[in-house]
């Protein structure tokens, strides 16, 4: 389990990466996927997921599709064309950031 300070700022890249390139997921599924992919070591605060999703929708990076599950609707999120470009950019930026941090940590230890 990582601290809030470390997790802050990673939510948007995580969402964009999970939906990239043609993913279609609903909120609960995103939370479960993150838990599954990180063996439970990265637990995003579920309440902060929806503001982030709505913000991305407001920015035009994702769009929503409602699908009926029995008698009730479920909202699936997917990337727009603009969102795909942004996801590629953010993923590359994030990978570069991780490499830089790794390099920094290695050099700082010496």
């Amino acid at each position: 389990m990582y601290s809030k300070d470390l997790i802050r700022g990673t939510l948007t890249p995580i969402i964009l990466r999970l939906l990239h390139p043609d993913g279609k997921m609903y909120g609960y599924e995103i939370c479960q996927k993150v838990k599954q992919l990180t063996d439970g070591s990265l637990l995003i605060r579920e309440g902060s997921l929806y503001p982030a999703l709505h913000r991305l929708m407001d920015d035009g990076l994702i769009r929503v599709e409602e699908v009926m599950i029995g008698n009730r609707p479920r909202r699936y999120y997917q990337l727009t064309e603009e969102g795909r470009l942004e996801a590629e950019k953010r993923t590359a930026e994030f990978s570069q950031f991780l490499q830089t941090m790794q390099l920094f940590m290695q050099k700082a230890i010496r």
Binding site: E46, G47, Y50, P51, H54, R55, R75, E82, L85
Partner: protein, 267 residues
Amino acid sequence: MVFLNGEQVAFIESDIRKKGITLAGLDTDVLDHLICGTEHYLNEGNPFAQAYQLALRDLTGDEAVGSVQQDTLRAVRTGKSFYKNLLAYVAVLGGLIGVFGVFAEATSPGLILPVLSLALFCVYHSFFYFRTGKNPGSNLWWFVAITALPVVAVAVFLAEAFPGFRWLGTQGWCLLLTAVGTGLYYHSVRKILAEPRTTRQLLIQLSRFLGVSSLLWIPLAAYVKLFRPGADVFLPRRAADALPDRFPLMLLLQKAPAARLFFRNRF
């Protein structure tokens, strides 16, 4: 596999509404999330009431469920996108300052614009600080853009108070300030062109760039147009007559048809 029945779903739907989740779209998200969470805990053998409480705890921890809606509204309404567009708002305000001047009589040189622009500057800084807890000066571009109004105000004051600053002329000042704006935004423009962008993103970036440039000259042009119509405040006739002798390039420009049209009122 245990699923919620209609009555239990109706209970959750009613409960989240009571807890303040009323935003269209978000209510569907939260309802679906809590149903999935509750079903998960039901399948672990918990009774419905406990399963629902556990799902609520997963959603917001110790905070009230209504905080999800508040956070969502905050993220959408006052998020980054607001500040992205703020430059355009300020540019429009700059123009409005000039329009406002139509109803005022300027009896002393350059007082209204400096006062209003400094007021805007202070309001913006305060608003930004209390809203985000950060100093707008930490972002160089915003700092430059918002500082531009007082800079223009000082330019107006200098041009009116000291004849030595008048030789540029109104258009000259506008062009110079636009060039400064372009220069300030040069790195951003280069970055925009280097990266793959959609048409929408390019248009947004272009509007921001124009916002910076226009922010620099709109107040100046509006001020001269509205407060000093035909008064030759920035370029007295004598200075205009003397310009071609001092600046051969200006003489060359005057010969061109487009330049003649541009400088028609000035020379």
